[in-house]
């Protein structure tokens, strides 16, 4: 007879390894054939299992699992992970932290055909940063990639951001694995639109720059909860500039492809690549500012260099 304590001890032995394979799949059948046994194996081992993938793929897994689907947390990644920057804190760490004594098993599909070229760099950086965020944690995070519909460049990046790759049914170590290179490559220079309006602020202008951004965003068509979220996010970014970014900064705002785009530029340098993605201890007062921005925005792009940092957020109209 195996007791709960025995199982805990068994897990303690293998707990320290983090596994992060990419799965290259060609069609729905191959997807189902791999995912359903992967999820069932986790359930059989007593591991908490979550699946965060785009809606149609979620349906494949749900119907493949039948009644077992009730034991799995199922999330539509196009919603939960719309902004790739919030997937680590809000999906992966949230699930892992909710089960502190167990090894967790997660299917995470943050890259799908239809992700825009503006979103993709943040997707690739997210995949890379999972390796840093989960080093030494008891978790398996499997990331499916649609081999037939995604660009060759995207699949090449997946070989850099995953230590192992499963293709054609076989799992191999990726000899290209180098996640830091992907973080660096997509640390792209960001240039505000020519028609952006700008506001320069220091500590004394924190309320003014917030009012400016809310007023501009409202004129550009943002309203309701989204406008309130923009106000909160602007307060956090401008405060970061005052506290960590040389005491002052500039805020730029414009619209682009049905979204309000707002960015804050300052002279600081962001050293910690996991800033805004590492949930702080519950009793800690600071450390949630950039995470708030990731939570409320549809997309966050970031550029940091020795002479300054730009954080840009997109909110859909």
């Amino acid at each position: 007879m195996t007791t709960a304590a025995d199982r805990k001890d068994e897990k303690a032995g293998k707990d320290e390894t983090f596994e992060h394979p990419a799965l290259f799949y060609r069609d729905g059948q191959e997807y189902t054939d791999h995912m359903v046994p992967f999820v069932r194996e986790g359930l059989a081992l007593g591991e908490p299992v979550a699946v965060a993938v785009p809606g149609p793929n979620l349906d494949l897994i749900r119907s493949g699992l039948g009644p077992d689907a009730e034991d799995v947390l199922l999330l539509d990644m196009t919603d939960a992970g719309r902004n790739p920057g919030r997937i680590i804190p809000r999906v992966l760490r949230a699930f892992s932290d909710a089960h502190p004594h167990a090894r967790v098993r997660i299917v995470g599909e943050p890259v799908w055909a239809g992700r825009s070229s503006v979103e993709y760099p943040a997707c690739a950086q997210h995949e890379a940063l999972i390796n840093a965020a989960f080093a030494g944690r008891a978790a398996t995070i499997l990331c499916p990639y649609d081999e037939t519909r995604l660009d060759a460049d995207v699949l090449a990046d997946a070989r850099l951001t995953h230590p192992t790759v499963i293709a054609g049914g076989r799992e191999r170590a990726s000899d290209a694995y180098d996640w830091q290179a992907v973080v660096d490559r997509y640390n792209e220079v960001l240039v505000p639109a020519p028609d952006a309006t700008v506001f320069t602020f220091g500590s004394a202008e924190l309320p003014d720059v917030r009012h400016f951004a809310v007023d501009r965003a409202a004129r550009l068509g943002l309203g309701g909860q989204r406008l309130q979220d923009l106000e909160l996010a602007v307060a956090e970014l401008t405060t970061n500039s005052v506290v960590h970014g040389g005491g002052q900064g500039t805020l730029w705002i414009w619209t682009e492809a049905g979204q309000v785009v707002c960015e804050v530029r300052d002279r600081g340098r962001l050293i910690d690549p996991l800033a805004g993605r590492r949930p702080p201890a519950r009793g800690q007062i600071g450390g949630r500012g950039l995470m708030l921005v990731h939570y409320v925005a549809d997309l966050v792009r970031l550029h940091t260099a020795p002479d300054g940092t730009t954080v840009r957020m997109y909110l859909g109209l």
Partner: protein, 117 residues
Amino acid sequence: MEGARDVRKPAPAHDGAVLEVSPLSDRAGIRVSGEIGVTTRPSWEDALAELARRHADVSYVELSRVGFVDVAGVSALAVTAMNLPGGRVVVECPPPQLSRVLALFWPALSGIEVAPR
């Protein structure tokens, strides 16, 4: 006098945001007006520490005259409520950011009750 500071006084006007804190006359707690942000956070945190020291069963935080509170401001309130030995804090008429930040970072936090505007 350099260095001396009375937290009950508004933060200096040249620092942008201003915060005033006064005790409620009819029940245990404080009335706050102004903005809760990085420049006024020391006053806010001092006021919350004082509230926690005097806390018995229910303490009230009246925020109808607060126009804005940032994430760390809400966090300070949530952490204060979390660390109370018992009872609860009733937050009255807070600006909309407060419920939003509580929902995002402290869902199902007991010890805090929000009475909306």
